[in-house]
């Protein structure tokens, strides 16, 4: 189902579908409806929010600040609890929202999260970026890369993220959490999924084959099925069904 322009609290959003609310926070490329979200709108009320700092909204100084803006906007729209998903940069905001208000996040989905990074990590060279983001970067209809002003703000926020402090917070996260990386992710090594799995007690880690960083674009059917299953069943998604 197509997502349409909407507002959630004070935030611009793309919204569509019926069912329990599933909130998604975008990556550095900004708000757009990736094909996995449109598929998820068959079963959920999908709310893809535009993060503070993008568009015309003021930029937060920390991820905790960004998380508060998101949580406040959801409360203003009457959404007290929801499943919260994020991709890349947005996954870092989603993670901080769950850390700040675990009682409001029923399930957390981190797609290629940018939170934990290996020591000495550097982004790929510009000419390598398309292949880092997409398995088939020459396809039509892919979202444009991050605008320079967004990229600078995103980089500043990520650079300011204290890795040690974040790692120390993760063992206390009580939320059922799915971490997924594409096996071909060229931005962050998919092996990082093991770090989340080791640190978060309720973390399930799944590798998505034949997907790069933007796994919702590379494997929309698989990502929608995986995310939908986890949001509905949490850790029980590991249990086989006849359905």
């Amino acid at each position: 189902m197509r997502l349409g322009e909407a507002h959630v609290g004070g935030l611009r959003a793309l919204r569509g579908g019926d069912g329990p609310p599933l909130v998604h926070l975008h990556g550095a490329a900004g708000l757009h409806a990736d094909p996995a979200l449109e598929l998820l709108a068959d079963d959920f009320d999908v709310l893809a929010l535009e993060l503070p700092g993008f568009g015309r909204s003021p930029a937060p100084r920390t991820f905790d600040e960004a998380a508060v803006v998101v949580l406040d906007a959801l409360a203003e729209a009457g959404i007290e609890t929801c499943a919260l998903a994020g991709t890349s940069f947005g996954a870092v905001v989603a993670l901080h929202a769950a850390l700040a208000a675990p009682e409001r996040v029923e399930a957390l989905v981190l797609l290629a999260p940018a939170a934990l990074r290996p020591a000495g990590w550097r982004p790929p060279a510009p000419e390598e970026l398309p292949r880092a983001l997409f398995v088939r970067p020459d396809r039509e209809g892919l979202p444009a890369p991050a605008r320079p002003e967004d990229g600078a703000f995103v980089a500043a926020l990520l650079d300011g993220l204290d890795q040690e402090a974040l790692r120390a917070r993760l063992p206390a996260l009580p939320t059922p959490t799915l971490v997924a990386f594409g096996t071909e992710d060229g931005l962050f090594p998919p092996e990082l999924g093991s770090d989340y799995r080791a640190l978060i007690p309720g973390c399930s880690f799944v590798l998505v084959w034949d997907a790069a960083h933007e796994l919702g674009w590379d494997r929309p059917d698989a990502v929608a099925a995986l995310v939908g299953d986890f949001v509905l069943r949490h850790e029980a998604f590991a249990v086989g069904t006849t359905g």
Binding site: R197, S204, F205, L207, W209, F237, A238
Partner: protein, 364 residues
């Protein structure tokens, strides 16, 4: 130089009508037991002669091989021949549960004390009938399953896999291989492009003499060596596996006579259908291969023959010349042939051990 014995463990099928798939009614417990006795007779001789590696393959439904589960047979070899490296060459990935393969190879590596090499295969078309695997999917399945096996051996935490052909939500294989991160991987190559990929991946190239002509094999090895050097490593010729059929007779004349009269090296007979079922089987093969010719790298030489055949001196010279021309350093040799009586295979291996192997070892 490393010398391996590949033994497909053929069924003692004397007097039975050939054909793939073999009719189950041709199974007899006595022949089955005799088949195993023969196989171990060859393995015993090779191990006593100091062969470095014993290798086992996966084939199904025919007289040609009684090892549809290569890891099961590898485990038996590991117990019977401690200290010898076992080559599991190897699982047909599109037919298997990749997680099970990762678990079983890790078990074999544990049982052999870390003396395991493994190769993965896509399977020849008729094998895709065995469990009803869609043939058009097997290329993708192979690629995905290979990646999944490697992940299963290396991920430090429990993980899931959302593939195109495989989906698992809980993967945590136990045991893991004794060799870390995993046993050496032999990857079959038929082209220099494939050999370059094998080099870049850190694997060992495996070349089947039956399907890759010598000049092409040499080009593959050259591409592999270039690729290894390109990543700053030193190529080791003992990592270049050349699987070849060998027939040694007391004299060149007798060897040539046997090759011609017995059609030695004509491996097509292993998968050929029974004559009365040929038309029916051709329709199945056409469906398996999409109507096109079976894939391969130019096919076997015509007429087919073992890669090395002759009296002991000739075979030794052929091997020296082949090694110099192609650049292999790990010979995975097979002395059996569907058309060769066991006693002749045993004699051939005996002649190899007594009169060829010493000259090869001296020439290292």
């Amino acid at each position: 130089m490393k010398i391996g014995l590949w033994n497909p463990v053929e069924y003692a099928a004397e007097g039975l009508p050939r054909g793939w798939p073999a009719a189950p009614r041709h199974w007899s417990p006595e022949r089955g037991a005799e088949s195993l006795r023969r196989a171990f007779e060859l393995y015993d001789l090779a191990v006593a002669a100091g062969f470095d590696v014993l290798s086992v393959a996966e084939h199904h439904y025919g007289f040609g091989s009684l090892t549809p589960s290569p890891s099961l047979f590898a485990a038996a070899l590991a117990q019977r021949y401690p200290g010898t490296t076992i080559g599991v060459l190897g699982p047909i990935l599109p037919l298997a549960n990749p997680i099970r393969v990762a678990e079983e190879i890790a078990m074999v590596d544990l049982l052999t004390g870390g003396r395991t090499v493994v190769g993965f295969f896509r399977g020849i078309p008729n094998e895709h009938l065995v469990y009803g695997t869609p043939p058009e999917a097997t290329s993708e399945m192979f690629r995905e399953a290979f990646a999944l096996v490697l992940r299963a051996w290396t991920e430090p935490e429990t993980f899931g896999w959302e593939g195109r052909h495989y989906r698992y939500r809980t993967i945590s294989p136990w045991p893991r291989p004794l060799q870390q991160p995993h046993p050496p991987i032999v990857s079959g190559v038929t082209s220099p492009e494939a050999a370059a990929w094998v080099a870049a991946s850190g694997y060992w190239p495996g070349i089947f003499g039956a399907v890759v002509p010598p000049d092409r094999a040499a080009a593959c090895v050259e591409a592999w060596r270039d690729g290894v050097e390109a990543r700053g490593a030193t190529p080791d010729d003992e990592h270049v596996v050349y699987r070849a059929r060998i027939y040694v007779a007391p004299s060149d004349e007798e060897a040539e006579r046997d090759v011609a009269e017995r059609r030695l090296g004509d491996s097509r007979s292993v998968v050929a259908p029974a004559p009365e079922r040929a038309a029916s089987a051709a329709r199945v093969l056409a469906a398996l291969t999409g109507g096109g010719p079976p894939r391969g790298a130019g096919g076997p030489p015509s007429p087919p023959r073992p890669e090395f055949a002759g009296g002991p001196e000739s075979v030794a010279e052929q091997l020296r010349a082949s090694r110099a021309a192609i650049g292999w350093g790990f010979l995975d040799a097979v002395f059996t042939d569907p058309n060769l009586p066991h006693e002749r295979a045993l004699r051939s291996l005996g002649l190899f051990v007594d009169r060829v192997l010493p000259t090869l070892r001296n020439g290292r």
